[in-house]
Symmetry: C2
Subunit: 886 residues, 2 copies
């Protein structure tokens, strides 16, 4: 053992906040508070290094540290003029674990350590407060037995409750009398003896060393090890804090409480707190009695109140953040036990940050860094009123955020009818949705499906049109025949009200009060602050004029992904699209495409016009064509039924069989890896040609109206230079012809998605033809891991996350090690050939903070995400720049 | 223009074979033959560099080179004592293109250049052979018009045939008389005038310069450019060879022919040749008359025969290879026009190579390099007799090699019945096969399907059990109801004979004579030679004892891939496997697995025993489980039918609906990217546990019998270290327990497949746990390109190959640029952590020569391929080592 580590014990007055790794979070904090002169019950900290040493040879280390601990106690005895183990006026301690990072599984607090059968009597006499003395001893017995010795807490609660019950139905702990407490103590000791096989330790030193030993051991219990492995927390070891007790349970002139320097739920600058008189420890949080307010404190403890108010300002000023303070009042004297940055709601966080900038307390950068970027997207959607009393019926996959209430309807036609004719709020409930259901999805207020994952049809469409969706709720059993669904015993019939929460995946029976989002002034101010701070550009994934408006409203500087397939799925277009797919000849196909052309042109015209010269990246048709066709099995069943019941003419049958044949020809075992993306354009060039014609006609018409347009054509699913070159050469020709025919000047770009691993591997070649790269991280993640999102999330991914094989869902937070490695490779190779190559992300990762940080670090130019994620992205992008400058 | 390139014309006597890039293949060869003293009609070559210069400024370059050409002609005039353009005894030339690599699209030969209306009379007089003179002029007119001027040949053939027709039904060209020829010539000239608008050029110099110009131009015609782009041939330019004519058509004392130094079809060391008297140029090859044999030549031209025999020995000795010689006899004098390495059948190639080593003519290495590795696998399978007169009905995908004849049967039960009870040769014909069809596949002699690609169920099973298969024959329409299939108008009824060729994909109506493979002594000698030469180890992909025997027979040194799913699909096991899949609890699943355990153990026991201590790499269960279940749509249709016709009891219905529910739960949108590989083992650990138990029990029992065993357990589809670690830790425990319970010593390894792009990216991490890497290049190719083999080959890959987007099918020849890059990365990272990491390929690329060459270059330890590809792999591995040493 090195000499450097020979100091195992630090008095609070010896530490500082910078020694967090050595003293643990709690120990460093106690030292810091001591340093700034707060009235802190003093004590000492055993270092984390001691804990690690302990694991080399527990017995030896305990022997080595004992004298140091006793020395520290001696110093405290002098300071407080009390003796540890004294029979009259003993010094008592609390013992707490305190690792450098807070983590579950670690040993809990033991209070009132040092009491025994004798000294409890002395304390009673000395304080002239029997109730206090026996209440403290009772608590100590319970905590030591539970926390240190591992006897189940339930046994103690049972005993305690049996005495409370004798006092009446609503009896509180304070209703127990001294004799009750004495009897409880006897029963506790008997229980201890029975469970452990020896009497409750009466020597204070034994109690202390036992407790310290237990803290050290708790560092390596199973739960802690698992947690550390899953969260990649290093093996720091834990510190142990031994602190002199102060007593909030010494009578009605004492108490314990919690205070916040600002309102943690709204962020308002108003001091907020709760306390209980004659209580100790966790009593306020545990809710054993209804706590009192700060106003009541002003009445009850005016001096303490004034002191606390003053301290709160001082602390906020010192820590430059809203503080959450734990305090104890012992006989009218205020002690601070803890202060830390307070937890707050997302809207409070925004208000506090912006206010503090205005108050000159923090910088813009600090304000931005104080926000949990991810959580602020919750501010944009309706949510279930947290005060509402709800019973969750089932849990599905949260596929599109927001909560909504409506009547459950089991098919799309009826949904449309009820919604449009009777103005009902309808939630469409289906096993899954298909393109046939698009009109139902549009008419509904939200959708619930039994099958499918976050990329299922229902999920994609719902996110696209901004409606809440819960999908893959496998525990609901939909019975289409009887038009109802069941969850266990509960039956929801058609027309019954349900509520779904697409933010959390919850499904609730009946109507539930919802909370509406309110975009505050501060929210917009905060977003504006990000503009000076971030480097990454922010674009939106937007397929419709509505999306485009939303994107601008939230501050997007362009569209990074405009998917054209959505435009193909609109109800009035689908029949034409199906005709195009079923075409037997190129001519037939062109005929159908000619009908789609003006529709697509209209779409692009509107979007370009809204975006007023900001870049709009349009992805050419991407999905497998059978996505536009009805379900094969259902069609087969229909035909068989019609045949068996003789209700189909030969001519109709022929037509159906034709359809079946085409569907069979188009069928793919793995559509994700089939005829889609640029492969479609290579197989049937006329589809791409129509799209490019529509894009450039729309753009040129706007140019004629003197409105600026910046189209960027994105060719999806490229894996080889030759693919890109073939498609691009063909399309540039059409672009040029169109522009010439309008006789306008138009700047445009042709680029590609990087979403196939091979594209990243040969990015140098591809960059010779591509004017920009847009990383399609959804597909890239699928191909790099070799699993499809739908199948993974529906099957094994939950198991992977549960077993800790993966820490995060790679479809939510970008896999930097694998997928990210490919991205870095692609950027390096691509810019090696074309130094000004513009690179962005347009997968869903573009709106996820850790992925945005990565995007910043690897030098992307922009991220693109759904309109509702843009505020998150703006904050995360600013945070990334601040964090990585540091 | 550089001075270095100022020499544009090389006389044959100035060249040598090393100047192939400058003189083209033909020019260098003519020079070489001149150098070794053969009787070659002399001439000169215009260099390829001249051709490239020509493209800078055609007119100028033609002017520059003309004097050089005329000088060369003057030298030839002196040598042959004739004048170019002389009216009595003119020197005539042939003009031929000659690029460094032979390629289609280049200009053809022009013979007899220099004749005109006047000199043809002179020649007639001088040779006293009117027929010869006018025949030569007729030929020249035709060739020049067609080849140089691009007039369609058909027009000339029409004229010629009209004259032949007048001579009788079977008239030959030699039946034409001088007057006929004169009239033909007049008609030819008129045709020329009509098509070109000017008379046929009468000046020999003009004829020559025109021809040279046409050769240069042909280098950049569309066909040639496309071919070069597709085959990545550089822009070398072409040379032009101008050679003095000798005449095989000078009468019955002249002739022209072709001779081989060994039999090109058997490889036997016996001289072989064919010739025609009184003929010129391509007459022998074109088959205008039946050629005569070498025996007849011995009679007809005894002197020439002796000379030719002597020359053949000399040439073979010089070129160290079997020669294909073109010769002309002019008035009894033998001229050699060309000699080159002769084309031969695969079996001849083997015999010639081995014989030549024995004769001391070439080294082992040269022998091995002389073999086209790919083609020799044809020697192992039955094929359609090349002499048979067949009509191909349709073309499918060649999924499992070999040709076979049998009666078409449309379901598996009937196939089994007819095959086992009536001993019929049955070809199972299905839209596609499912696990339910395995008994039919086993009982059949081959399988034909309408749908699916090379990795479809039918294809995989057929290859596994070594039966011919043609799949995805989309032009056949199977009508199961009427038990027949149609192709256009042709109907094949159940019981009709058909023949399928799994090597080529051909489907033929009726019985066809087949040729049986014969493994010669030389074949085995050649394979044995590879052992001293190659570095790569060769293993087999073998799932059954039959495969294992075959693998040893062909010289495999272990099993590189033993797939266990095949074992699950055997007919008597499938119900148990299905029970295992449908199990509702872990207990139910274990119960089913307990029944499978002894079966699997038996499989492994047999294979280990056959492989006698050679390493056997066993892959744990890999495919998605629904592969073991019936078709969902079919099941739904069946249930609906039973319900509509009231032919099902409630109890049966319940059972069916249970099955439907399970299938729905297991259903995956993209099974290739779903719950399979190690994900199965993580989700249901009991499956892997059973397999590992079976492997180690089998191994330990053999150890007890003193038979050595080397199991290598391969965990499939790993993408993250954490997956591998979890599975491996769990399985090693079982392995150790099993070994302990048998109390034996057993060496074993745990390794992984690298078949997910991410695995290659994090191979350094994975190598910390994996004792070997086996590249699953099939899956790795799919994931790297982002397309599934089935869907790609059935849909867009043919278009990609046709359009030249890809040069080769990446599922056949490894994509070195993309997939190969990942492999190199994985090897580098893996060996960085574990320097002795054993790496191999077990995808189908392991049996493909260019992929084997790559495997050698990137330092793999072995390749593993199907037993029938092992000879190919051994030769290709040896070639790789020789080639890369050079």
């Amino acid at each position: 053992m090195s000499t450097e580590n020979d100091k195992h014990v630090y008095d609070f007055s010896e530490g500082k906040k910078e020694l967090k790794l050595l003293l643990g979070g709690k120990g460093a904090n106690l030292a810091e508070m001591t340093n700034i002169g707060l009235n802190i019950p003093q004590g000492f900290t055993l270092t984390t290094a001691t804990c690690l040493k302990y694991y080399e040879d527990p017995k030896k280390v305990m022997e080595i540290i004992k004298p140091e601990i006793l020395d520290a106690i001696t110093r405290l005895e002098k300071k407080y003029n009390k003796k540890f183990g004294d029979l009259k006026n003993p010094l008592l301690f609390s013992v707490r674990s305190g690792a450098p990072m807070s983590m579950p599984g670690m040993m809990d607090t033991v209070l009132n350590l040092g009491l025994n059968d004798e000294s409890v009597k002395g304390v009673a006499e000395e304080t002239n407060n029997d109730r206090f003395a026996y209440d403290s001893y009772r608590r100590f017995l319970q905590m030591f037995s539970d926390v240190v010795m591992g006897i189940e807490l339930d046994h103690f609660e049972e005993i305690l409750n049996s005495y409370k019950a004798k006092k009446g139905e609503d009896a509180k702990d304070t209703d127990l009398e001294v004799d009750d407490l004495k009897q409880i103590i006897e029963e506790y000791k008997a229980l201890y003896q029975k469970k452990i096989g020896s009497p409750f330790p009466q020597t204070p030193q034994d109690q202390l060393f036992h407790s310290i030993d237990a803290v050290f051991k708790s560092w390596n219990n199973k739960r802690a090890i698992t947690y550390r492995r899953m969260n990649k927390i290093p093996n720091y070891g834990t510190a142990v804090n031994v602190q002199v007790m102060v007593f909030g349970n010494k009578g009605w002139g004492s108490g314990t409480g919690v205070a916040f320097t600002r309102d943690p739920s709204t962020g308002e600058k108003r001091k907020f707190g709760e306390y209980l008189a004659n209580a100790q420890g966790e009593d306020v949080v545990a809710g054993i009695r209804t706590p009192k307010t700060m106003e009541e404190m002003k009445e009850e403890f005016p001096k303490v109140y004034d002191e606390l108010i003053g301290l709160m300002d001082k602390l906020e000023d010192h820590y430059k953040d809203m503080q959450d303070i734990e305090f104890t009042i012992e006989d009218g004297e205020l002690f601070i036990l803890q202060t830390r940055n307070g937890k707050r709601t997302p809207s409070a966080a925004v208000k506090i940050a912006v206010d503090m900038v205005k108050e000159g307390l923090i910088t813009k950068e600090q304000a931005i860094m104080s926000i949990n970027a991810d959580s602020i997207s919750d501010l944009l959607f309706k949510s279930i009123d947290p005060k509402a009393d709800i019973t969750v019926l089932a849990q599905g996959i949260n596929a599109s955020p927001g909560a909504v209430t409506g009547i459950a309807i089991f098919d799309s036609d009826k949904t449309e009818e009820l919604a449009t004719k009777e103005n009902k709020n309808v939630i469409l409930v289906r096993p899954q949705t298909k393109p046939d259901d698009v009109h139902g999805l549009y008419a509904s207020v939200g959708v619930l499906t039994q099958f499918g994952g976050k990329t299922s049809h229902a999920a994609v469409v719902a996110r696209g049109i901004g409606k809440p969706a819960v999908v893959g709720a496998q525990n609901i059993k939909i019975d289409l025949k009887n038009r109802q669904f069941t969850v266990g015993e509960t039956v929801v019939k058609e027309g019954d009200y349900i509520t779904i929460d697409g933010t959390t995946g919850k499904i609730i029976k009946g109507q539930v009060p919802l909370v509406f989002p309110e975009l505050t002034k501060e929210f917009n101010e905060l977003l504006d602050m990000t503009d000076d701070v971030k480097k990454l550009g922010i674009r939106a994934n937007a397929d419709t004029p509505t999306d485009a408006y939303k994107a601008l409203e939230f501050g997007a500087k362009g569209i990074g992904l405009c998917r054209t397939e959505h435009m193909f799925m609109a109800q009035e277009r689908l029949p034409v699209v199906q005709k195009m797919i079923m075409a037997k000849t190129t001519e037939e196909r062109k005929e159908a495409l000619d009908k789609i052309l003006p529709m697509q042109k209209g779409d692009f015209y509107d979007i370009f016009k809204i975006m007023k010269g900001l870049p709009v990246t349009i992805r050419l048709l991407d999905p497998p064509l059978h996505e536009f066709l009805p379900d094969y099995t259902e069609l087969m069943l229909e035909v068989q039924k019609l045949k068996l019941t003789n209700s189909i003419t030969d001519e109709e049958l022929k037509e159906k069989e034709d359809l079946i044949h085409t569907m069979r020809t188009l069928h793919e075992e793995n559509p994700m890896m089939g005829l889609r993306g640029c492969r479609l354009g290579i197989t049937w060039p006329e589809i791409n040609e129509m799209q490019v014609k529509a894009i450039f006609q729309a753009a040129c018409e706007l140019k004629k109206e003197n409105i600026d347009v910046k189209p960027e054509i994105m060719i999806p699913l490229v894996g080889m230079l030759s693919e890109l070159k073939l498609v691009k050469d063909q399309l540039i020709k059409i672009a040029k012809e169109t522009i010439e025919s309008y006789n306008v000047d138009l700047n445009y770009k042709f680029g590609t998605m990087i979403e196939i691993p091979r594209a990243a591997l040969v990015a140098d070649k591809i960059a010779s033809e591509a004017e920009f790269f847009s990383f399609g991280t959804n597909d890239l993640t699928q191909m790099t891991f070799g699993f499809s999102r739908d199948d993974a999330e529906g099957k094994f991914l939950p198991i992977y996350l549960e077993k800790g094989i993966m820490k995060e869902n790679p479809f939510e937070a970008l896999d930097q090690e694998g997928v990210g490695q490919l991205m870095q490779m692609a950027i390096k190779k691509g810019r090696g050939v074309r130094p000004d190559l513009k690179c962005g992300i347009c997968g869903e990762h573009g709106g996820e903070p850790s992925s945005i940080d990565f995007a910043h670090r690897i030098g992307l130019n922009y991220v693109s995400c759904s309109p509702y994620r843009i505020p998150v992205a703006r904050i995360a992008a600013a945070q990334a720049n601040i964090r990585n400058k540091e």
